[in-house]
């Protein structure tokens, strides 16, 4: 007889274990990003993590809370990592610090700290920068293989902290491709080309496109997809939010692609470009600012997917994950209110 005795409780993850698991699952994506875009993002991650951590500690001291016990939960670390991944590689250091201080100080702690924030801190910090410094925030590097000037670790450090590499190249020069033109991201290229009346085929002659989406970007997104699937397998995140987001993005972009195959980006392009996978698995699933009911999570994810499509297609910015997540964060209370599951023994609400 091999019977187990009650209680059949399962060990659930503690906050800090959960946060560290999410950070670990970012690593494949970060590694691929490093491979394609160079050292910039590693520097940004280090910067953002340090700034987030220091801000968290300072504010906890100001609030007279136990600093060491709370900073051990690694939530500021995760915010820093996500922010660092999302920021352009050679963004000036002080912008990263502004975003980190705003994310932790204003968006998280003014609302009461971890568990009380209405908005995703990393994305709020990102959007603050995007609104304040639109030019710097949309200056992404071309993939290393297509860049005219190769930037090593030392060059990248110099670019981030002084604005010029050790050979004297500026950030704008670091964005030159082999063709001698300033690089644009795949999503940006498609948007500009389609607005100028080019067809999708003509637009995709551009070397920024890879096998099935943007060069480099497709592999970064695949790596985040893998990390995210592992998170779902370990039940760190529920699959409803990424499922809802990717499904709605796929269906909406699929319909528009089916109707005008030459005038709209393909569903694969939408799914594997920009921050789609990072957003779906690592950002939208933030346990604090996302929906908590099962049905609500599907709606929340679908809402983000629809808004990502809308902003990418008709909006002013090339990518849209940050704005979509923040807008969906605002509707969380309403969604959860209407998705409350029936309590056992009570009737369905009329």
């Amino acid at each position: 007889m091999n019977l187990l005795s009650s209680p059949f409780t399962r060990q659930s993850l503690k906050t800090h274990e959960l946060m560290r698991m999410v950070i670990l699952c970012c690593i494949p994506g970060i590694a691929i990003q490093w491979y394609f875009f160079g050292w910039g993002n590693l520097i940004q991650i280090m910067l953002a993590v340090s700034a987030c951590w220091v801000t968290e500690a300072v504010i906890l001291i100001m609030r007279a809370r136990p600093v060491f016990r709370i900073t051990r939960d690694s939530s500021a670390l995760l915010t820093g990592v996500l922010l660092g991944i999302a920021l352009p590689p050679f963004l000036p250091w002080w912008m990263t610090v502004i975003a980190a201080v705003f994310a932790i100080g204003v968006v998280k702690h003014l609302y009461g700290g971890l568990g009380n924030n209405l908005f995703n801190p990393a994305m709020a910090g990102y959007v603050l920068l995007l609104i304040s410094f639109p030019v710097a925030m949309t200056s992404w590097q071309p993939v290393v293989a297509q860049a005219q000037h190769q930037m090593g670790l030392w060059d990248s450090l110099n670019l981030v902290f002084t604005g010029f590499s050790s050979d004297g190249y500026s950030i704008q020069q670091a964005r030159m491709t082999l063709d001698g033109i300033t690089a644009a991201t795949p999503l940006d290229t498609i948007k500009t080309d389609l607005r100028q009346g080019l067809t999708l085929d003509e637009s995709q002659q551009n070397p920024v496109f890879g096998v099935f989406a943007g060069a480099g970007w497709e592999w970064v997104n695949l790596a985040f997809l893998l990390g995210g699937l592992y998170l779902i397998y370990r039940r760190v995140i529920s699959w409803a939010i990424p499922g809802g987001m990717l499904l709605s993005l796929f269906v909406i972009s699929g319909i528009s692609f089916a109707f005008q195959p030459d005038g709209a980006a393909s569903p694969m392009m939408h799914l594997f470009s920009g921050a789609t996978m990072l957003g779906a698995f690592f950002i939208a699933t933030d346990p604090v600012s996302a929906c908590t009911t099962v049905k609500g999570r599907w709606i929340f994810g679908a809402l983000i997917g629809a808004m990502v499509y809308a902003i990418r297609t008709w909006g002013g910015y090339p990518d849209a994950v940050a704005f979509s997540v923040l807008l969906a964060n605002m509707s969380v209370m309403l969604i959860d209110y209407y998705c409350k599951p029936r309590t056992y023994g009570h009737k369905e609400r009329q």
Binding site: V106, L128, I131, S132, F133, P134, V135, A136
Partner: protein
């Protein structure tokens, strides 16, 4: 005299229309991108508030209760039109910079709020003082938010002073900080909301500290025990 001091203190600090009543936020947030814009709208609002409070207080006996709001709105609209024409004549560039927000002073709830809550129930002198102090309190907040936003956004203070004070004031602009890139969010409406929030927080901190100090200075109440049972021996 004491009552007049009270009225001033209420308008400037304790019941400040912008920071406590949170009235008139639309113009407050929309035009407070520079000190001069804030000051211009602040002066215009103060003039309208003063005029409307005086007039409402004078005619308060003859206004039927049922139609008092339309009457107040018409009085306010008359003053706003006057101020708008004056600004059009004397500070034309500022008039252009503030644009639609000058006529929109009519809809500023702070003004109709004072007419309804104070001027329609009080005599001429307190009403006039109330209008003036509420207006000055509103202007102070406008100027403070304008200064912070201008400094964070473009590193200057008093940009466009010549629009308000005439060409001689063109040299009043101070460049305090030099930026390569403007901190745009401070100049955009979200920045106004953030600055406003921080100002209100600051006011609450000051108020709480003052209340704390007052509590400490009061003597501790002496506790008197009351015998409820048994016999005193």
């Amino acid at each position: 005299m004491n009552q007049l001091l009270d009225i001033s203190w209420l308008g400037l600090w304790k019941n400040n229309p912008a920071m406590v009543q949170l009235l008139g936020l639309c113009p407050l947030l929309a035009v407070s991108s520079t000190v001069i814009n804030g000051l211009g709208l602040g002066i215009a609002t103060t003039l309208v508030l003063l005029g409307s409070n005086v007039t409402v207080s004078l005619v308060r006996q003859w206004i039927p209760k049922e139609i008092r709001i339309p009457v107040f709105v018409m009085i306010i609209a008359a003053f706003v039109t006057t101020v708008q024409l004056l600004m059009n004549a004397y500070t034309y560039d500022l008039y252009l910079a503030l644009g639609i927000f000058i006529p929109l002073i009519v809809t500023n709830c702070a003004i109709i709020g004072r007419a309804e809550a104070f001027a329609s129930k009080n005599a001429l002198l307190p009403s006039a003082l109330d209008g003036l102090m509420m207006g000055v309190g509103f202007s102070l907040v406008l100027v403070a938010i304008g200064a912070i936003r201008e400094l964070l956004g473009q590193g200057t203070l008093l940009v466009g002073a010549e629009n308000l004070f005439g060409p001689a004031a063109a040299g009043m602009t101070i460049q305090l900080l030099e930026f390569d890139q403007e901190f745009l969010i401070a100049l955009l409406p979200p920045g106004a909301f953030l600055v406003m929030g921080f100002l209100i927080a600051l006011k609450n901190i000051v108020d709480n500290a003052a209340a704390e100090r007052q509590k400490r200075h009061q003597p501790a109440p002496t506790i008197e025990r009351v015998r409820v049972s048994g016999n005193a021996e």
